[in-house]
């Protein structure tokens, strides 16, 4: 059949135009990161005399080792570790408490069940951004400033994760719970032996999303970590800029930016299927 522009599938020139458009899109997406990478491999003088080069230089090792070991205020290696603890703490914490409460809400009938359900639901309306000052005061009163628990706990309750698990538990056939009861399994045994292993794909998908969420937190660590050694990497980058008119140490800052991206980007690319699934399911 002749292609008169009405065909569903493009061929020939149309196909190449499609590819061209997509490649432009990829370039637009990738350019800032490429530039950051280049900046992290050249020396400071090459950057401060614009235009900076557009191809990588030979200072990569120096810049990255300087960032990791000494950084500007605190070694970036330390900030990476802090971010890792925070991201993993938030994801595992959210998953654990959400699994338990979803299990209770789906598989039991108990007083105030609906009240609890709605309380959890309402947390959707309370992102950390709208309660920063009082939440800060709570953490301060508990003496949790500059601590991992202070970084993690206020972000650990999640209606989204609870709903996701509740939704999944609802799709688990009733007969499985009945079979487990006939087999003599009590509720917790059923939870650990049957429900948890069956949820593992959901758990993994959610972990990917929550890890990125935790890793990319900015405002909260900015508020409660005044001690540079407790900074997370994402908020620590901004702290590396000098106040006043001094020139920023761009190669080190850009090296740090690249380091800040690597873990979550690896998670997204390495677990693309789980990531997409987690994204779609947690947002639906």
């Amino acid at each position: 059949m002749a292609d008169r522009g009405g065909m569903v599938e493009r061929r020939g020139a149309g196909l190449w135009l499609t590819h061209l458009g997509l490649i432009l899109g990829v370039a637009f997406i990738a350019f800032p990161i490429w530039l950051a990478f280049v900046a992290s491999t050249v020396s400071q003088p090459e950057i401060v005399r614009p235009p900076m080069p557009l191809l990588p230089g030979d200072q990569m090792w120096e810049n990255y080792s300087k960032a990791l070991t000494s950084g500007v205020n605190a070694p970036v290696a330390l900030m990476l570790a802090n971010s890792m603890v925070m991201a993993i703490g938030i994801s595992l914490g959210k998953i654990a408490i959400s699994l338990l409460s979803a299990f209770a809400i789906v598989y039991f009938r108990f007083p105030f069940r609906r009240v609890f359900f709605w309380l959890i639901f309402l947390t959707l309306m309370l992102p950390v951004e709208v309660r920063i000052v009082p939440t800060y005061e709570v953490i301060a009163n508990f003496g949790m400033l500059n601590s991992y628990s202070g970084l993690i706990l206020p972000l650990v309750a999640s209606a989204t994760a609870t709903f996701l698990f509740r939704q999944f538990f609802m799709t688990v056939p009733d007969e499985l719970a009945e079979a487990a009861r006939v087999d003599g399994a009590g509720p917790m045994r059923f939870f650990f032996d049957i429900l948890l292993p069956m949820s593992r794909t959901n758990i993994a998908a959610l972990f990917v999303i929550l890890f990125i969420y935790g890793w990319n937190q900015y405002l909260w660590p900015l508020l409660i970590t005044t001690d540079p050694s407790m900074n997370t990497i994402v908020m620590g980058i901004k702290q590396m800029f000098p106040s006043g008119d001094d020139i920023a140490d761009w190669p080190v800052i850009m090296a740090t930016s690249i380091l800040a991206m690597i873990p979550p980007v690896l998670v997204v690319i390495g677990m693309q299927k789980l990531f997409i699934r987690g994204l779609v399911e947690s947002e639906k």
């Binding site: 056939p173 487990a180 009861r181 006939v182 399994a185 049957i194 593992r200």
Partner: protein
């Protein structure tokens, strides 16, 4: 091995009564089939025996023990579910062994029992597979195996064959029966399929609208139905119901005659027009319309001539074939 007795069992969900008082006594080793259309309460009844539903009133006894309040595992029962309810993440072996593990059975004993059940059910090659890697019939067998290894006093089956295709259903039906005979375990089996009920049951319970209409041996129920519902539900094609007036008799109520007891007979008592005839090979179903519009089916041997559509014929039967029911549908 145990007897099971249900005494005046009632069940309501909120204000809706679904079981209106059912009494059944099951002897040790007996195979009882509860049969009825969907929504008649048969599954609910079974689940109350299993302990998966609470009993609103009445008493469930297994052996000599009242078990109304007992957890399922404490009732010495095993259950085969309609969708098999296999744990999807566990191997066949682990599925069968799970209940035993919970009961803290010694490992060697678990292995021996699973091996024995697997042998009985020809599942030995599949013990390490996951349920999704099995065919429907194999899954069905695993569900059976899970029940067998527990060596329960009572087997409960909730429509276990309804997810299988017709051919497998016949085969598994025979296997279930053979297995129950071999193990000598009391069995309570729920189905909506009257053929399954007829072939499996020592005694069957025909449920209708939350009431046990009739309890008895299959042939007794077939030959001597106590209500119009039973007469219509058991037997295929279903019993013909004629008004007494059509046969020139007095009284209200209905007269039931099974299609297989009718024959085309020029001297017959009933006249009708042939609507159509279905030749099934071994037999032919002749559908006619009587003078008052009633549909009547005659089942005749394929050797007999098939009447032409639209022709007027007469149908007769032996006197003993007539089953009289009163206006309330009860056998007179």
């Amino acid at each position: 091995m145990a007897t099971v007795s249900l005494q005046d069992i009632r069940k309501s969900f909120g204000k809706t009564d679904v079981i209106h008082g059912v009494d059944i006594d099951i002897a040790d080793g007996e195979f009882i089939v509860i049969v009825g259309p969907s929504g008649c309460g048969k599954s609910t009844l079974l689940r109350m025996v299993a302990g998966l539903e609470t009993v609103t009133s009445g008493e469930v006894r297994i052996g000599d023990r009242r078990v109304n309040e007992a957890e399922p595992m404490a009732r010495d029962i095993a259950m085969v579910f309609q969708n098999y309810a296999l744990y999807p993440h566990m191997s066949v072996f682990d599925n069968m062994a799970y209940g035993l593990k919970i009961a803290k059975t010694p490992k060697s004993e678990i292995e021996a029992r699973v091996a024995q059940a697997a042998k009985m059910l020809q599942l030995e090659p599949y013990l390490q597979r996951k349920p999704r890697e099995l065919s429907g019939g194999q899954r069905q067998r695993v569900a059976m195996g899970r029940a067998i290894v527990r060596k329960p006093a009572v087997f409960l089956f909730d429509e276990p064959l309804s997810n299988l295709d017709a051919k497998l259903r016949v085969q598994m039906r025979l296997e279930i029966k053979a297995l129950q005979r071999e193990l000598g375990v009391t069995a309570l089996y729920v189905t909506h399929d009257q053929v399954e009920a007829m072939t499996l049951a020592d005694r069957m319970v025909v449920m209708n609208g939350g009431v046990a209409d009739q309890v008895g041996a299959p042939l007794e129920v077939y030959g001597n139905p106590q209500t119009t519902f039973v007469a219509g539900f058991i037997g295929s094609p279903p019993t013909n119901f004629l008004s007494p007036a059509l046969l020139g008799q007095q009284g209200d109520g209905q007269i039931g005659i099974r299609p297989e007891h009718m024959a085309i007979d020029p001297e017959g008592a009933l006249q009708g027009t042939v609507a159509y005839a279905e030749a099934l090979g071994a037999e032919t179903l002749v559908h006619l319309r009587a003078a008052d519009g009633t549909q009547v089916t005659v089942r005749q041997d394929a050797a007999h001539a098939i009447p032409a559509e639209g022709s007027a014929i007469r149908v007769g039967w032996q006197d003993g074939a007539m089953m009289r029911f009163d206006a309330a549908g009860r056998r007179v």
